[in-house]
Amino acid sequence: MSSIPDAETLLAVDVGSINTRANLFDIVDGRYRLVASARAASTAGPPLYDIREGVRQAFDQVHAITGRRMIDEAESLILPSAGYGSGVDVFVATTSAGPNVRTALAGLMPSVSLASARRLAASASLQVVCEISLSDRRRREEQIDQILAARPDLVLIVGGTDGGAASALMQVVDVVGLAMGLIPEPVRPRVVYAGNRHLGASVVDRLGDRAHVTLAPNVRPDLEEEDAAPTRHRLAETLADIRSAKIVGLQELRQWSGGHLLPTPDAFGRIIRYLSRIHDPDKGILGVDLGASRTTIAAAFEGELYLSVASDLGLGAPLPSLLEHCALSKITRWLPIEVRESRLRDYMYNKSLRPGTVPALLEELHIEYALARQLIRSALFDARVGWPAGKDSKSSLLMPPLEPVIAGGGVLARAPRPGYATLALLDALQPTGITTLILDPHSLTPSVGAAAGPLPMAAVHVLESGGLVRLATVVSPVGRGRIGQTVLQYRLEREAGKSEEGEVRYGQLMCLPLSSTEKGRLILRPEHGYDVGFGGPGKAGALREVTGGAVGLVIDARGRPLELPKDEASRRELNQKWLWDLSAVE
C-alpha cells in the first residue's frame, strides 16, 4: 500500500444524540493531520428533528477556524474540493443519534444461534424487544402475537449451520412470515436473514411479498464458530436504511459519504481492530466510548474484534437502567464526598431527562465520574462474556494484558484535568501489567475508523499525529498484600534529565512526572508474589523506551482486583487522596 495519500482533504462528521462533531484533516508534510475540530449541539432531537442544522453549524465552525468553505449556496457539501479554500476531497460520516432500532430475534436454539444473535444485537446497538425460537414452548400464534405486540423495526432471523437441516428453521421463518402479513405495510419491519446460507433463497421465497428481506452471511456457520463481523457489516446497511427513514438529514449524509454512513461504534471498532494488527500480539487492545446514549466496549485480540454496544448504559437518557445492573452502593463507592443514595438516584433520573446538561458544581462532577466508572464497569462485565477464553484473563476479577487502552466520550473528554479521566479509567478498568491510557477528546477514533475505508493511510497518520491525548503509562502489579508492604522497586532513567528510583508500597498510587514527549528507561523489580507482566510473579524487567503522558508514569499498587475500604468515611478519604495523587484536584 502506498504511503502517499491519494486525496488531500478529509472531512469526518459524527452525529451523536448530544453533539455533532466535524473534524477536518489535511496533508501537512506528506501526512494527514487534524487541522480543525468543531463541535455543535446535535439537532437530531427536538425541536428540529433534523440533523442537518447541527452539521451545518459544525461546518461553519470549521470554516471559521480554517477559512475553508464547506457548503455551497444550495446548502450542499462542496465535494470534491473546488480549488484552494473550498470543499473537501473525501467525506465520511458516522452516527449514533436517534432512537434504538427495535428488534425481534428469531432463531433455533436459545443457547446457540439466538445467543449469537443477541451478541450481534449488542454489538449493533439494537434494542431486542422479543425473541422466538424453535424450543419456544408457546404456541405459534402466541409467538405471532408477541411479534405484533413488540412493534419491531427489524426482524433478525438466525439459525442453522451452513448446509444443515432446513425444516426446523423454515418453521421459524413461517411464524415470522405470518406475523409480517398482519402488519400494515407502512410500518412493516425489515427482515435480515443471517442463518444457514443454503436456505437464503428459500427464505426470500417463503417470505415473498410480505417482507423486504436482506440476506447476510450466517452469523454461526458451524456449531463451534461464530463469525459476526461480516454479518454486522451487512446489517449496518439495513440499519442505515431504517435510521435514514426515521431521522431527517441522514439520507443526505449517506449521499455525501458515498453510501458509507457507519454506526459510530462500528467505526470505533474498526480502529481498535486495526491497532490490534500492528501492536504486540500477546496483548489485547481495548476501546471504551462512554456516550450519552450508549457505552461501546471494543476489544481486539490478534486482529479479531469483539464489539459490544450497551444501549442501556449511557450517561444520558438510559442512565436509570444502570440500577438494573448494580446497586446504588456500587456507584457511591467511587465518591470522594458524602452523597445520600436518594440524592444520587434523583440525580440519575434528572440527568436522564436532561442529558445535555453539564455539571457546574464540584459535587456534581464527582457524581458524574462515579457514574462513569460504574457504567464502564457494567458494560465491560457484559462485554467480557463474548471475549475469547484463551485471550481473556482466566479470572473474571482480573483484566487480561491490554496495550493500549483508548477512551472517549463526552464526560471523559471534558475532564477538568487529565488526572480525573485517568483515575476514572484506572478504577473502572483496573488494567493489569503495563498499559498506556489514551484519551480521545475530539472523537477522532470513529472519524478515522470511517476514513479507513476510502483512505487507509489517513487513519494511520492521524493516530500517529497527536490528535489523541496520551494520559499515562500505567504499571499495575497483580498480587495481594498488606497495606504498606513493598510491592516493587523502580528506577526511571530519563533520556534527558535526572534519574529517580524508589519503592512502591501496597495501596499506593504513585505518579512520576514524565511527559508524552519524554523518553526514559524504566526498570521494575517486583517483590515475590507481584506480577508486572515480565513473565510471572517476582520477575524483574526493563522497559527500554517508556514515555509518560499528560499525567505521567503511574504505578498503581492498589491491588488487583481493587478492594475499597468498607468504612464509608475511610473510602471517601481514599478516593479523595487518589485524586490528589494524580493531580486531579488542587
Binding site: 432531537g45 404456541r139 402475537d145 433520573y349 456534581e364
Partner: protein, 353 residues
C-alpha cells in the same frame, strides 16, 4: 440560524394542536370541524392481538393441496363463533368452524390465521376542542385554546377533570391530610411529593390526576402502578414549582384540565403536559417551537447551583467559562430572579415560553 434552546412551554393562552393516534389502523369516528369533549370516543380499532392458527387440512381430514376446494371464506371475512370456514367434507360432513367471533387474517399453505376479536380499543379525545384533521383510519388532530404547562415525566396515563391546587407555596410538601374528601375526582395540583402515602391516598379518592413539581425518584415504581395520571413539571427530588407554572396553575384553580402523562419521548415528539381549555374570543397563537439563543430570551436554569431559577439572557459569551467543577463550557450571562447577573453554561438553560 444560530443555536437553538430547548423549550418548555408554560403558556397562559395558546392555540394547542394535539394528534391522537390509534396503535394500528381502525375506524376514526370524529369528523373535521366536529366539536369533541375529553371523554368522547373518536376512534376504534380491533386491538385484540390474539390470533389462532387453524390447520385446515387436519380439520377437514384432507390433503393440504385439497383445502382450497372446501374453503368458503377468504382473507378479511368477519365471522361469528361457529360460522363455517371450510367444508363440509365427505360422508361425515366434516367442517372447520370459527372458534370465536373474529376475522380471517390470512390463509397460507392449508393454514388459516384467525384473528379473535376482543374488546375494541377506544381512542378518546383527551381534551375538549375541534377536530381539525384526520386521516380517517388512524389519526385525529384536535385543536383547542387554553393554558399549557409542559412536564418532564409522566406515568403513562391520561384523564380530565376539575383542577384543584392544594399547595400554598411552590415548595410545599404534599401531605395526606391535604387530600380532603371534597377533592374526590379532581385533578390535584401539589408541589413536592416525597412519601408513598400521598399517592395511595389519591388513589382511594379516585383523583383524575396528580400534577406535581417534583417527586422522590424511589416513588417511580409506585407512581407507575397508580390508575390516575401523574406528571412532574420540574423533575425528581425536591424541586419547587417554577414561579410561572405556579402562578398559571393557581390562577386556573377550579377550571377543568386535561392531564396527559405520556412518558417524555423526544424522538417521538411526545411530552407529558397539562392543558387547561379556556374559552377565548380571539384566535390564540400556536406556541413557538424554535427559540434562538440570544439576549432578552427568558430562560430557566436546569441544574445546580441555580436549578429552577428564572431569568433573562443578557449576553452570550464568546469565550467558554470554567466553573467550580473545573468544567469549561460555553456560557451566557443571565439576569436571574433572586441572584442577579450570573454566568450559566448554555447547556444548562432552557427557554421558557
Amino acid at each position: 440560524m444560530t443555536d437553538l434552546l430547548p423549550i418548555t412551554h408554560v403558556l397562559p393562552l395558546a392555540a394547542i394542536r394535539r394528534e391522537r393516534r390509534l396503535a394500528m389502523p381502525g375506524v376514526i369516528l370524529a369528523r373535521v370541524n366536529q366539536k369533541v369533549q375529553a371523554q368522547d370516543v373518536i376512534g376504534e380499532a380491533d386491538h385484540s392481538l390474539r390470533h389462532i392458527l387453524i390447520d385446515l387440512a387436519r380439520g377437514l381430514g384432507v390433503r393440504e393441496k385439497e383445502v382450497d376446494r372446501y374453503l368458503i371464506r377468504e382473507k378479511g371475512d368477519r365471522l361469528e363463533q361457529g360460522d363455517i370456514i371450510a367444508g363440509p367434507v365427505g360422508f361425515a360432513r366434516r367442517t372447520v368452524r370459527a372458534p370465536r367471533d373474529g376475522r380471517v387474517a390470512s390463509i397460507l399453505d392449508g393454514q388459516l390465521l384467525f384473528e379473535a376479536l376482543g374488546e375494541p380499543y377506544r381512542l378518546r379525545a383527551g381534551l375538549p376542542g375541534t377536530v381539525v384533521a384526520t386521516d380517517e383510519t388512524r389519526s385525529v388532530t384536535i385543536e383547542t385554546s387554553g393554558a399549557l404547562v409542559q412536564a418532564v415525566w409522566g406515568n403513562g396515563r391520561q384523564d380530565f377533570g376539575v383542577m384543584r391546587v392544594v399547595c400554598r407555596d411552590a415548595a410545599d410538601r404534599l401531605q395526606t391530610d391535604e387530600l380532603v374528601l371534597s377533592l374526590r375526582g379532581a385533578v390535584i395540583v401539589a408541589c413536592i411529593c416525597d412519601h408513598p402515602a400521598a399517592l395511595h391516598q389519591a388513589r382511594e379518592m379516585a383523583v383524575r390526576g396528580l400534577v406535581l413539581s417534583s417527586m422522590a425518584s424511589d416513588l417511580i415504581p409506585l407512581a407507575q402502578r397508580m390508575p390516575y395520571p401523574i406528571v412532574l413539571i420540574e423533575g425528581f427530588g425536591e424541586i419547587p414549582l417554577s414561579s410561572p407554572a405556579f402562578r398559571l396553575l393557581s390562577s386556573n384553580n377550579g377550571r377543568e384540565a386535561a392531564v396527559d402523562a405520556r412518558p417524555w419521548r423526544p424522538y417521538e415528539d411526545q411530552r407529558p403536559e397539562v392543558i387547561i381549555p379556556l374559552p377565548t374570543a380571539r384566535m390564540a397563537d400556536l406556541p413557538d417551537e424554535f427559540v434562538q439563543l440570544e439576549p432578552r430570551v427568558q430562560v430557566r436554569v436546569l441544574r445546580a447551583p441555580y436549578q429552577g431559577a428564572m431569568g433573562v439572557i443578557q449576553d452570550v459569551m464568546a469565550q467558554g467559562m470554567t466553573y467550580p467543577s473545573g468544567v469549561l463550557a460555553r456560557s451566557a450571562k443571565v439576569d436571574l430572579e433572586g441572584f442577579g447577573l450570573v454566568t450559566v453554561p448554555i447547556a444548562n438553560l432552557e427557554a421558557l415560553r
